[in-house]
Amino acid sequence: MSAAPVLVCTGLVKRFGDLVAVDGVGFEISPGETYGLLGPNGAGKTTTISMVCGLLERDDGDVVVAGRPLTTTSVEAKAAIGYVPQEIAVYPDLTGRENLRFFSRLYGMAPAAATERIGEALEVVGLADRADDLAGEYSGGMKRRLNIAIGLLHRPRLLVLDEPTVGVDPQSRNAILEGVEALAGGGIAVLYTTHYMEEAERLCDRIGIIDAGVIRAEGTRRELVALVGERDRVRLAGSGDLASVATACGALPGVEAASVRDGAVDLIVEGARGLLPELLRVAAESGGLVDGVDVHEPDLESVFLHLTGKALRD
């Protein structure tokens, strides 16, 4: 990645009253690179993205897109960005094609070029056969795909996708992920936020793990996982008083983090093999009925747990 970065942001800060929603976030994205912001609800992903796209007044920090500084009043610099908001922002009473046509005009595209690009964007998201139906009549997944198509329309140098797969069926999700992979392969820089670990692992060349407005760690998947070291993730599935189980196990030497998620206790431990009997005993003593044990090699989920002591999703 020797080419000049498409996006450079540094020291971004946003306060909402007493809450510091984003506290000194900074990263760079190069052409063809997909950068993921991985973090739980309320971590500050959307707030960061809003500042990157010049949609939110920032309290501090700088954003440079394609070599141009960007603020909320920038006009030229915004032409380089394709923004796909977390909420579906399309006119429900216009057709998919009309929505695209409208935004092509806002991007200042000539009508003929726009017609061609609209066709391409519809193909990429797989909406070509429904392009002339009202967007309000689309399924949730189709609305999401239209939402994305608008962001792709003008071949931006930086594509910003804010949790584009939320509430989407597996098939649509896969289509979306494939689309993003293809775009990145075509050389555009992608900023992708998600709280799905699998998506981040699959798509992103580099990942920033964000929590409470701070990027806790950044790097490739391999680099991040190395942070956890020789630690394993142990998952005790079962019923009973799982909260007490987590507390009791968390107090054992060799256990780094413990939290409850989806009817199981997630643990980060040093040397799972040796600790397992001890863990099961403590679990039984503190009122848990364990009926399944999984031991995982470290993944991003473990990294997050390791860094924050919390599960990525609750």
């Binding site: 010049g54 949609l55 909320t72 030229e76 915004k78 006119y91 806002l106």
Partner: protein
Amino acid sequence: MRSLAIAAVNLRRFARQRANLFFVLVLPLLIVAMLGLVFGATDVDLGVVQRSGGPLAEQLSDDLGATEDLAVVRYEDESALERAVQRGRVEAGLVVPDDYTAVLEAGGTATVRWIARPGTASIQLRQAVEAAVARQGTVLRAARFVAAEQGGDVESRLAAAATVAAAVPGVDVEVRPADETVAAGDLGQFDLGAATQLVLFVFLTSLFGAPTLIEVRRLGLSRRMLSTPTRHLQVLLGESLGRLAIALVQAAIIVVGSALLFGVAWGSPPAAAAIVACFALVGASFAMLLGSALSSDQQAGALALVLGLGLAALGGSMVPLEVFPDRVRTIAHVTPHAWANDAFAEVLRHGGGLVDVLAPLAVLLAYAAVVFSLAAWFFRRAVTG
């Protein structure tokens, strides 16, 4: 360019809703019917006492009878006429003295009497009568002039003299109210009715751009527009242009419809068009202000109604400004309505043209600029925090 794209989408979405068709077409037509019934030109009865006033008095009666929308009803004497006016059998009365022709031909000034009830539409009637009297006066004056220069008798020169203009009429109209308690000066308001209603409606209908803007904001679309190379002023301008177009179409339907179908008077077309356009601009700016400062479309709808009716009431669109005490009338001019109504008064009562209403138009434009700037500030704050 981008603003036009935004305005076009705004209009396209508006047109897609069937209910809006009612709003934009049927509602104005209902208002046309209402204006037609209340302010339309229908034959008005004028009572006339004219027994032996001579040929010139006859000519005056004939002239009045030939006036469009006016019917002359003869009465035997003044007291019968007064009773008829009081009871509303005729709209107003005119008493032509017996020595009318004699006095005029002698070069004197004849005095006709005008009898009217307060609180009626008699002002238009009086203007018609004054016009007829003045016509005759002008002709007579000229006739006298011609007689003096060339000799011969006055009557024989009258026809030729009709082409010669003279400034001062030879006939005075003496006004006498049928009801002593109200002075004749109070009778100047009725001709403005249709215009003041139009002002009320245009503003109200413009304000309903506010909930539309709030919806666009709520859908995340104005935010998304700002993620493209589009300035927030362009977004707001586009949204207000859409609403402006709707209001102007409605106003055009009302003005043209009521004029063609019912003969409602709107004065000089360029002046009336300019007043409506500038005023609708103020209305659209107000809509953008509400739509930017508020965040619930129900709230905005309710406030639009309160503002639309409240400002109209204070601004002379429900009760004419003339009946307000001076101080209230001054205060009323904080509303754009008062300026628009003033402008229409100038056009309708004094036959003013575009140049005569430039001052109130400038006030309206300044008003729109200030309100729009305020709206832009709120809009930016609402969308980009």
